[in-house]
Amino acid sequence: MNQTQIFDGQPVLSFRSEHDRRSFLRSALLVGVGAGFVGYYAGDPTSASSANALGTPAAPSAKGDLEILNYALTLEYLESDFYKQGVDGGVLSGRELDLVTPISEHEAAHVTALTDTIKSLGGKPVASPKFQYPQGTFTNRTKFLTTASVFEELGVKAYHGQVTLIDSVDILAAAASIAGVESRHAAILADLTGGEPFPSPIEANLPMAAVLKAAKPFIA
């Protein structure tokens, strides 16, 4: 009989390891719900050391939404350009190429979707910056995939850093629906590069300034 009342039907939980317990305590810290909570946690939300670094973002607004969309567009330009060169560069083959080619297509689709959305809201899509990459990025498999992994983790944190700042519920839905795909990419690239596909039980997030600082070396 497979029928089991899980946790004996009780809202209790035991932790299988000390690591799990600590991981939970950090997650619980993140969810600092309640009256007056207006900020968000910068950095890794499961890192106790950064959990006190509350941002003080501007209140959500339509103007703010356009800024967020243009920020996302800039990151998607970077990813799209990066993957196009990487896939065209021919350093991948077999299953790896099969896994990365759709990522390239997704990033291009994100650029188009964000551009159209900004226009439909009466905004002006930012132009694509010119990008630069360290030598060998597209001729060395490991270099390419490692950089891709960094970009994906950064992209995930970037989207999650804006979640509470978005005003329009349809833009929130759209941004979240993109963010989930970036999470899939991040996990697959971690797997391909021997990294950690599940670095945290809850996605980390970064504020705009920190993300742009990380992306800056790639902008020519």
């Binding site: 899980i6 939970f24 964000l114 999470s183």
Partner: protein, 211 residues
Amino acid sequence: MQITRKNFIRGDVAAVPPGVAVGALNNRFRWAKAADFDSDVDVLNYALTLEYLEAEFYRQGNSAGLVSGKEMQYLDAVQSDEESHVATIMATVKKLGGQPVAAPAVDFGDAFSSREKYLTTSHVFENTGVQAYLGAAGFISDTAVLQAAAGIFGVEARHAAIVGNLLGLEPEGGVYMGATETPLSQAQVLDAVTPFLAGASAMGGDAAVTL
């Protein structure tokens, strides 16, 4: 009228806007289900039931001796994530002054009869979880809850992709589900998970009413 998170949550929105290009991004967002949830506690208890299911699923599956090596490591991490989600959501419901729903009785059928069945069922759970969170996101009013729910949603997407890849599925449609994730309404999610609930009363009865 521009729909903002605030007026959407309060139910002030009389009509759904055309949302031209946003529609192109995500034309299946379930506006019509505006009555799915009444409060953050409702959303969280809905998520909690799914997380209970997932946590128990991996607890049983990882004990069944079906996987080893890197697969075992990955699924062990997934189990830890789901357990962490259960604990985090329960704590959050309590902080909000709500009562966490009890864990449902479950029946995973023959999901643990082989590695492939285990992973295939896992893949369904994870993708359903992704779609459930996305479908519920617009109903959350507390920014900290929204941040956490979005953060959990992303991790479920990671799980889904990795399990799809362990199964060797086609990248598009198996590892990735398109350029954007697709939300599901509460009713659709409950339809998907009902086969794993032991007895119609498990979620159709009192415990589920608050969902």
